[in-house]
Symmetry: C2
Subunit: 321 residues, 2 copies
C-alpha cells in the first residue's frame, strides 16, 4: 500500500484528524499528558481513521462529525490495545515496549480508561447523532464480550471455526464495522452506500485479523514475534485449518491446553500447523473476506478514495507488519 | 442508617433497579455470566443507586429513565472498583477477595470494560437525553483523570489540601454528583430542585471519601484493613491535617515517599497522624461537607425520601464499613 499517496489524497482532513486526536487527549493532569505524548510519539498505522475518512468521502462528504468519528475510532482502538497489554502482561508490541512495561499496569489500566473516556466524549460532539451513540455502546459491549469469549476458549481449548469467527468479529471486525457505519452516518449517506461502507469495513476487519493470526505463525521474517497466540492458548484459524480432518485433533488440542506447563509444545503444534496446510487454509479464508470487501466497494462511486480502499484491502493479504 | 427502612420506602422501584442491573449484565458469553454472577452475589451497599432513586423521587417522579440511571451509576462504580483493584494489585476489598484475585488480572480488566460498556448502554435507553450522555462522557474523563492525578501525586508526595480535594472530587464525588444530576433530569425537575439534588450528592460524595480516608487510619475495630493508603503513598486528609503548621513536614513527606523501600515507616507516619490531630482535622472537614449536603436538602420537598437522604448523610459520619 502506498501510504504516502493515501495521506496526500486525504490532505488537510488527515491533518485535522490527527490534530483532533492530540487535542482531544489534552488533560489538566500533567502525568496524563506525559504518558499520552509518549504514546502519540509512535502513532502506529492509524488504519481505522484512514479507512473512516476514505469511506466518509466515498459516502458523499467528510464533515466535522466524520473527522470526530475517525479520531474516536483510533482512541477506542488504542484504549483496547492498552488494556489488552495489561491483561496479557505483554512487554512488547510492534517491537516497542508496551505502555504497561513503561509505566506499570496501574497507570496503564487508568490511561486505557482515559482514552476510552475521551473517545466517548468525541462521539458526543455538537449535534450528536443518537444512533451513532447507540452504535458506540453496542460496540463497547461487543468488544468486551469478544475478549472474554477468547479468554473462555483459551481455558477450554475447544475453539472451532465458528467460535473463532465470532471472536474476531467481536474483538476486531466490530470496530472496523463501526467506522464504516459512523462514517456513512456522518456523511448522511443513502442506505445502499451506508450498507456498502459497513460491509467493506467489516469484511476488511475480518481479513485484517486473519492476516495477524497468520503472521503469528510465520511472520518471523519481518521481525515480528511469532507463537504469541499459542503461548496464550489462543486457537486461531491456521491451527483450525490444519486440524480439519486430522486424526491427531485430540492430541493437538490437549497439547495446546498444556502449553503453560510444557512450553516446548509450542514448537510441536506450530510444526503441525505448517506441515498440515494450516497457513494455506487461513489464506483462502482471508482471500474470501478480501473479495467480500472489494465487492462491497462496487456500490460506492468510482473515485480515488475507493481505489485507495481497494488497495488497502489487497495490501492486507501480503503485509508483514 | 436504617437500610431496611429505606429499601421498604423504595419498595418495588428498588426491586426494579436491582433486577435491571442483573438483566443489563446478561451476556451471550458463559464466562462473562459466571463472573458477573459471582460479583452480584456480594452486591455491596448499593449506595449510589439508593441515593439516585431517592433524589429522583424528591425531584418529582421516579421514571423508567431514573431507574436506568440509578443502575448505570452502580455499574460504573463497579467498573472502576474492578479496574482499581487490577491497578492496585489488591487481593481483598471489604474483606472479600477481589475479582482480580479470583479470576486473574486479565479477565478482571476485560470484565471492568464489560461493566462500563453495559453502563454506557443503560444510559442510552429509549428517548435518550443528550445532556445526560454529555454528563456521562464528562464523568468518565473526570474519574480517569482523578485516578491518574492520584498516581502522579503518589510519586511526588507533595499532595496539599487543594490537590486532595481535587482528587476526591474527581474520583469519588463526581460519580455521586452525576447520580444527582441525572436523577433530576430523569424527573424533569425544575432548576432549583436539580441544583439541590446535585449539590447534595456532590457534598455527600466528598464526605463519603473523607470518611473512607479516616477509616484507613483508624478503622481497625471494624476489621477493615488500615494503612492501605500509606502503603500506596496516598497522602489523604488526616495526614494533611496533621502536617498543618508542623516543622516535621519535610521529614514526614520524605518518609511517605520512601515507604516502598521502608514499609516500617507506615507505622511511624500513622502515629504522627494520630498524635497530631489529623483525625480531628479530617472529621471537621467531613462535618462541613455533611452540613453542606443537609443544607442542600432544604430546597427539596419535605418527604420521607428527603429524610432518608438526611439520615444517609448523617450516618456517614459514623459508619465503620
Amino acid at each position: 500500500m502506498n501510504r504516502g499517496k493515501v495521506l496526500e489524497l486525504l490532505g488537510a482532513d488527515w491533518t485535522r484528524m490527527t490534530e483532533l486526536i492530540r487535542s482531544a487527549l489534552v488533560s489538566d493532569v500533567p502525568l496524563a499528558n506525559e504518558i499520552n505524548d509518549g504514546i502519540l510519539a509512535h502513532p502506529g498505522k492509524l488504519l481505522r481513521p484512514m479507512i473512516s475518512l476514505l469511506l466518509a468521502r466515498c459516502c458523499g462528504a467528510l464533515t466535522p462529525a466524520g473527522i470526530r468519528y475517525a479520531a474516536a475510532a483510533e482512541l477506542l482502538h488504542n484504549a483496547t490495545l492498552i488494556h489488552d497489554d495489561v491483561a496479557d502482561d505483554s512487554s512488547q508490541r510492534r517491537g516497542m515496549p508496551t505502555l504497561r512495561s513503561l509505566v506499570g499496569p496501574r497507570a496503564a489500566v487508568l490511561v486505557g480508561d482515559y482514552w476510552l473516556a475521551r473517545a466517548v466524549e468525541l462521539m458526543m460532539g455538537e449535534g450528536d447523532d443518537p444512533q451513532a451513540l447507540r452504535l458506540l455502546s453496542a460496540l463497547l459491549v461487543k468488544m468486551a464480550e469478544g475478549e472474554i469469549l477468547q479468554l473462555q476458549k483459551a481455558e477450554s481449548c475447544d475453539t472451532d471455526e465458528a467460535d473463532y469467527l465470532r471472536i474476531i468479529s467481536c474483538k476486531t471486525a466490530s470496530l472496523f464495522a463501526f467506522t464504516g457505519e459512523t462514517a456513512a452516518r456522518s456523511a448522511a449517506a443513502p442506505q445502499p452506500l451506508a450498507e456498502a461502507a459497513r460491509a467493506y469495513a467489516e469484511a476488511f476487519g475480518m481479513a485484517f485479523q486473519i492476516r495477524d493470526d497468520i503472521l503469528d505463525y510465520c511472520g518471523e521474517d519481518s521481525g515480528k514475534p511469532v507463537g504469541q497466540d499459542l503461548a496464550e492458548r489462543k486457537i486461531t484459524l491456521p491451527l483450525i485449518g490444519a486440524l480439519r480432518g486430522s486424526d491427531r485433533e485430540a492430541d493437538i488440542r490437549a497439547r495446546v491446553h498444556g502449553i503453560p506447563a510444557h512450553p516446548e509444545d509450542r514448537a510441536y503444534v506450530r510444526d503441525f500447523v505448517l506441515e498440515h496446510g494450516g497457513i494455506a487454509y487461513a489464506r483462502e479464508r482471508l482471500e474470501e473476506y478480501v473479495g467480500e470487501a472489494l465487492r462491497a466497494l462496487e456500490a460506492l462511486p468510482d473515485t480515488p478514495e475507493r481505489e485507495s480502499l481497494a488497495e488497502i484491502a489487497r495490501y492486507n493479504s501480503f503485509r508483514n507488519v
